[in-house]
Amino acid sequence: MKIVVCVKHVAVLGDEIRFTTDERDVDEDYYDRTLNEWDACAAEEALRIRERLGGEGEVLVVTVGGPSADVALQRCLAMGADRAVRISFDQTVHDPIAIGHALSEAIVPEQPDLVLVGVQSSDSVQGSTGTALAQFLDLPRVAVVKKVEYDHATRRATCHRELEGGLVDVVEVDTPAVLAIQTGINEPRYPTFRAIKDAERKEISLVSAAGGAVSGYHVRRMFVPPKPEGAEMLDGGPADVARRIAEIVKERLA
């Protein structure tokens, strides 16, 4: 039994931010890195699936990035993951397709039974890396999973998907498959100091991505949008306010 969890070291912006000189990214001096919340849930779910199977098998965490990405891997190792792989990736393009492709190259030789990803990352909020990854791995994928029951004997996973209006969509999927995990599925565990220290001693394997995935995606410019004009405050009694609102609506429709 092997579960691969793909994680991201998301940026946590401070009160003040600056952009890089080419205006295509945030200057890294102005943010910290942490494990993406959705990915923490995915890692926790992987650990719980393994525990439900009696603790047999391996949980492998994979990420793409430079040394600053190790913070996310180390957190997962401290939570109880067995092994970590960081795919160094010097392409300047960081879109979901390129990342999905790089992940797939590292995951294929692992031949996992399950691949868990977070629904989205809190910083870029693309929500599509998992989908791209499934495409490159040629595996089925289940989106926005709030509950997983995995049967290792039949190699099938029953997933509860969260839909609008409190509806639940129950999906059965043959594995290997890519499951995109939604927050709220679990409360990720907090590692003790001992677990953190033990994790610091675990090695993180480095692999290089061959690259080659091409997408049409590139960042042109990042900027803080100018402040919109302030709201117009309407004074007076309910009748006056209502009359004024009606006038404004008519003006705008005209």
Binding site: D32, E187, Y190, T192, F193, R194, A195, K197
Partner: protein, 702 residues
């Protein structure tokens, strides 16, 4: 984040007579327990306000002569040249930081008991003090009036030579000048009593003389109470205060405007339990309408929006503060830098005030553990040295006031990792539910400030919903373990009055309840008739009485003490608390102690006549008898012994807050702060000695 431009008005300089205030932040006179006899503590404490951006800082009330001696309470004094020397240190340090130094010249009249000087105070009429019982003044004749005015002039000259920029002729809080103005204290029939003009004469002449003496060099400030809330007999806004402002406006450079007399000065230093920020603005705004001079006033202002609005709306020119500047000496700097969420807001508990009322001890603050520790412990509220053992990981168990403060300060001291372990989902401990008591909502600021700070600290992590036993702590991998597991209210009636449990008191029964069971546990209170036993004497008994009476119960509040909630006298909360309980028909019975509790019935005895029993129909009895530390976890770990702890890598085991001994929140916060400040001392469990401001005699050696 940059400052919001709408707050720029707070940073505009303003003229005060011959001086310029660099911005609109002004620490008005308030006590701190230092006076003139702890000159270092005094200077360092006021200077911290200047460093934090306040444009001016003032002494507390400053006695002008031994006849105005407030012992046991601590005032500053300008009696002689030695006092000048001592207070000049404060002036020098304020000037170093670009702030003005103010001194509040004070003559107490009948309110000064003169317990140290053994003088007899003088007053307009011979009436015993309504504040300091058993103190009778001498009634002043005209020679006395000239002499006392001479004391003001001499003290003003000493103030100038000490380096003060602003000299007050202080009347508020019913002190001598305002005693003359107020019929309650002034029964005279000569030209110093009767008509407004006569009642105003002493204060007007005194201001004239002080101005004549030092007015070219110092700004003259007058602190006036505009309403004593005593009806016709007290100072009244329209009849007395506004005409007085108009009468002497040309002699005054700054009006410091408030309300209240001395016997209920909680109407001025308002507890958050009863009043919101800015409650004096209507009176301050009226003075603004009649004066041409700047007006400063307090209102427990902690919000920059409210401050800026007070100025823009023409109610104040300058934001006065005592408590907000105690809670956060760096409030102006934080507003200036747009660091609004770093402001440590005053909670309005009045623990600071209580220490003055008690007489003697240095003032303390629930929010700011460094208050009055600036000199003697060298603590700075915003600066932290990296701990020498910062490479250690610290586990703090329990995120109540002590645990939160300790974890936060350890984080600021750069410890490698701090984990704050909490059994509940949210941090706060006892302060998650105390703010749910009636009127105590603002006390939640104790949690909010620390939560925001801890969120910002990368090396501190809250571990919620986690209850650790001794084995879990042992195996956690921490080098330093701090236990802050709090305390609980006794469930069996154990109390300090009898030192025994109360027969029949058992909070596992439906009709016997503790505060936690009511506030957190959701235990239902059976029936209508509730007896609350309060052996604690602070806020818990009266707060639960108010809560349950508001919910429709018939409440009887018993206490073995002579007065209910005596500590709330010191926090100035008691008068309005008693009004509220009275209006809710709470039956207060003093000198009463429970002898036994049975379903439907409780029996009390009179503490000075134990044979005198009273039976109470009681569907429920609430026990507020005493608290006990939750020390099981600490005990278990300690009993393992140093070797067992060391074998797991634990080199330090400490406990703080209520877990050590149940105390006020201010003391728990201090305890957590103290341990974190001294985590790298040779024995962090033992507080390092602090500097004491005292004379040391020269030993004569043979």
């Amino acid at each position: 984040m940059a400052r919001d431009p709408k707050h720029d008005v707070l940073f505009e300089p303003i003229r005060i007579g011959p001086k310029t205030l660099r911005n609109r932040f002004y620490q008005v006179p308030h006590c701190n327990g230092a006076g003139s006899e702890k000159p270092n503590a005094q200077a360092w404490n006021r200077a911290m306000r200047a460093e934090g951006g306040w444009g001016a800082s003032c002494t507390e009330y400053c006695s002008i002569h031994p006849e105005s001696d407030d012992t046991m309470r601590i005032s500053a004094r300008l009696w002689d040249e030695d006092d000048v020397r001592n207070l000049s240190l404060m002036c020098d340090k304020l000037h170093e930081h670009g702030a003005l130094a103010g001194v509040e010249l004070w003559y107490g009249g009948a309110h000064a008991p003169c317990m140290e000087s053994r003088c007899v105070p003088r007053a307009p009429s011979q009436l015993p003090s309504d504040f300091e019982h058993l103190t009778y003044p001498k009634e002043m004749d005209k020679d006395d009036i000239r002499e006392v005015q001479g004391f003001y002039v001499a003290a003003a000259r000493r103030a100038r030579s000490a380096g003060f920029d602003i000299v007050y002729v202080y009347g508020s809080h019913s002190y001598l000048p305002q005693q003359f103005l107020t019929p309650f204290y002034n029964k005279r029939t000569d030209e110093y009593g009767g008509s407004f003009e006569n009642r105003a004469r002493f204060w007007r002449e005194t201001i004239e003389q002080v101005r004549e003496a030092v007015g070219d060099d110092c700004a003259i400030a007058v602190r006036i109470s505009t309403d004593m809330f005593m009806g016709e007999i007290g100072t009244q806004l329209e009849r007395d205060a506004l005409p007085f402002v108009e009468l002497v406006d040309n002699l005054v450079d700054l009006w410091d405007v408030n309300v209240s007399g001395i016997s209920e000065w909680g109407e001025d230093a308002t507890p958050s339990r009863f009043y919101e920020s800015g409650r004096q603005l209507p009176w301050q705004g009226r003075v603004k309408q009649v004066t041409k001079k700047p007006v400063v006033g307090v209102g427990r202002f902690t919000s920059a929006d409210v401050m800026a609005e007070a100025i823009r709306s023409g109610k104040l020119d300058i934001i006065g503060a005592c408590r907000p500047s105690i809670s956060d000496p760096f409030l102006p700097t934080k507003i200036s830098e747009g660091r609004y969420d770093d402001i440590r807001e005053c909670i309005g508990c009045n623990i600071c005030v209580s220490r003055w009322e008690i007489g003697g001890p240095p003032a303390v603050c629930t929010q700011n553990a460094t208050f009055m520790e600036e000199y003697r412990r060298g603590w700075h509220p915003e600066k932290f040295t990296k701990a020498e053992n910062a490479d250690n990981d610290v586990l703090v168990v329990g995120a109540g006031p002590a645990g939160m403060e300790c974890a936060m300060i350890l984080g600021k001291r750069g410890m490698r990792r701090v984990h704050l372990l909490e059994a509940e989902k949210e941090m706060g401990g006892i302060m998650r539910w105390i703010p749910l008591l009636p009127g105590l909502g603002e006390w939640a600021r104790v949690v909010n400030y620390r939560k925001i700070q801890i969120d910002k600290l990368k090396n501190v992590e809250l571990i919620p919903s986690t209850r650790a036993d001794a084995n879990a702590v042992l195996k956690y991998g921490a080098e330093i373990v701090v236990i802050a597991t709090g305390a609980y209210w006794a469930t069996n009636g154990l109390n300090g009055a009898t030192s025994e449990p109360i027969p029949g008191a058992d909070a596992s029964l439906p009709h016997v309840l503790t505060p936690e069971q009511i506030m957190v546990g959701g235990k239902e209170i059976p029936g209508e008739r509730v007896v609350i036993l309060d052996n604690d004497g602070y806020f818990m008994g009266v707060s639960l009485a108010e809560k349950l009476a508001t919910e429709g119960k018939q409440v009887t509040l018993l206490t073995h003490l002579g007065e209910v909630a005596p500590y709330m006298k010191f926090t100035l909360e008691l008068p309005n608390m008693l009004r509220k309980l009275h209006s809710l028909h709470v039956n207060i019975v003093t000198h009463a102690m429970l002898q036994s509790i049975e379903p439907g019935r409780a029996v009390s005895y009179h503490v000075f006549d134990p044979e005198h029993l009273t039976e109470w129909d009681a569907d429920a009895v609430v026990l507020i008898t005493q608290r006990r530390s939750n020390e099981a976890l600490y005990r278990e770990l300690k009993d393992l012994g140093t070797d067992a702890l060391r074998s797991e890598g634990i080199i330090g085991l400490y406990r703080i807050g209520d877990c050590l001994a149940p105390r006020m929140v201010a003391d728990c916060v201090f305890d957590g702060h103290r341990l974190a400040r001294e985590i790298d001392s040779p024995d962090p469990a033992v507080p390092k000695p602090f500097l004491r401001d005292r004379k040391v005699i020269e030993l004569l050696r043979a």
